[in-house]
């Protein structure tokens, strides 16, 4: 059950790590009129369309122990390549576009005039975010987090390139299933993992759907 524990910890950490960045990027894409937002949107979408193995390769180049970034992080006690943190980074990056998309959808549902009204009443943009935008979008953000979590649970290609398959450290459920399928009799041993994977993903997706439905109902009733 080590791989289940690792998958859960990696998916949870990846979701939490992405959350502030996903909120910031989604807010920028939805609310900014800056011309650069189209370029930012294209970059955010890249991990969704690139083969995960290519994403993993690019991440490995970026976080290589011989590179500046990798060396700096390692000296801070945060080694990425071929460590647990590498699996987290890979899962976070690959799930990022979905996370941003879900949060952007919930931001789109909030009338931007409410934010302007808040500012006309003397609240700064930052205060407006905490008092108006966040309370009206958190269910959508949680739904996005659930989808990002489910995506992180299934991450394989980028993880195996950046973090490798180290039992007890980076061997998540998909990596373990892949390894077992290569071994004699492995097919019997993965049944439990397959069932656990399906159950976890179904829970995450159903939770996201329920939250999303509740949230849309709430906005319709209230506005």
């Amino acid at each position: 059950m080590d791989s289940v524990r690792i998958s859960l910890s990696v998916a949870t950490a990846a979701t939490l790590l992405s959350l502030p960045f996903a909120v910031a990027v989604a807010w920028y894409l939805e609310r900014s009129r800056h011309a650069a937002r189209h370029a930012v949107q294209s970059i955010v979408w890249l991990p969704l369309v690139l083969p995960p193995v290519v994403t993993g390769y690019l991440l490995l180049k970026a976080f290589s122990p011989r590179g500046t970034v990798g060396q700096t992080l390692a000296s801070l006690g945060l080694p990425v390549a071929f460590h647990w943190l590498g699996a987290v980074v890979a899962a976070a990056v690959v799930g990022f576009p979905l996370f941003v998309m879900m949060i952007a959808l919930s931001l789109k549902a909030v009338d931007p005039r409410l934010e302007r009204l808040s500012q006309s009443l003397g609240r700064s943009p930052w205060q407006t975010f905490w008092r108006i935008t966040l309370p009206l979008t958190w269910p959508g953000m949680l739904a996005g987090a659930a989808i990002a979590f489910a995506r992180a649970l299934g991450e394989f290609g980028a993880t195996i390139i950046l973090a490798g398959r180290i039992p007890g450290e980076t061997e998540t459920i998909p990596l373990r299933i892949h390894a077992e399928l290569d071994a004699p009799g492995g097919e019997q041993r993965i049944i439990g993992l397959v069932i656990v994977s399906i159950i976890l993903c179904v829970i995450a997706v159903v939770w996201a759907r329920l939250l999303d439905a509740w949230y849309r109902r709430r906005l319709e009733l209230d506005t």
Binding site: L117, S120, G122, R123, I132, D222
Partner: protein, 207 residues
């Protein structure tokens, strides 16, 4: 109130608001057909649209962001914060005075604990007005405040705005596509068409 506006604002749809005027009046009325730039003018004064040169009673508002202008804004559909009670809506501004006076003046005392979804259209308008007044603004912008009301309710709403103006001694800019609504309250009227000023009207000393 002495208000000066010099605005040239281009919208993404090609519409351009190009106006410059100075007025010295208590209630400025702005009339014109739909799409003539009335709401854009209010956005410029409030600071939603930047780039307009705005001076109010000798103080330039131009460099100030929206949240520092102290300008109350009541939108035509009386938007309320849907997750906050009537009381929390009215008390939302960091400059909010004791809300009881405002609530009493506008007949909202019994509604303070309700959520916006449980209010009628007329109640929502009064709450939106109360919220703007409670913030102690130096100028109040009213965007089509009587839109969608039948004749009886319109007369009541006009009387309410008149009472509020008297009670709070607050200068206002009132926007409407109906001339008679503006004439009922304004002490000076300007008319917009196609984003340009077409008829600055003289102050009516009788009001």
């Amino acid at each position: 109130m002495k208000l000066s506006v010099a605005a040239k604002i281009a919208r993404p749809n090609g519409f351009v608001l190009d106006v410059a005027f100075t007025c010295d009046t208590d209630v400025l009325g702005v009339v014109g057909p739909s799409g003539c730039g009335k709401s854009t003018l209010l956005d410029a004064i409030a600071g939603v649209e930047r780039g307009a040169v705005i001076t109010l009673d000798g103080t330039s508002l131009t460099p100030l962001p929206m949240h520092q202008r102290r300008i109350g804004y009541v939108t035509q559909d009386a938007l309320l914060f849907p997750h906050l009670s009537v009381r929390a809506n009215i008390a939302y501004s960091p400059f909010a005075r004791t809300i009881d006076d405002v609530a009493q003046t506008l007949g909202l005392t019994a509604l303070l604990d309700r959520m916006p979804r449980h209010l009628s259209g007329g109640e929502r308008r009064r709450v939106a007005l109360a919220r703007a007044l409670a913030a102690s603004p130096q100028l109040l912008l009213l965007d089509e405040p009587f839109n969608g009301l039948d004749d009886a309710r319109r007369a009541d709403a006009i009387a309410l705005v008149r009472d509020v103006h008297r009670a709070f001694a607050l200068p206002m800019v009132l926007v409407s596509h109906r001339r008679e609504e503006v004439d009922a309250l304004a002490t000076q009227v300007i008319a917009l068409e196609g984003g340009r000023l077409v008829a600055p009207a003289a102050s009516d000393p009788a009001r």
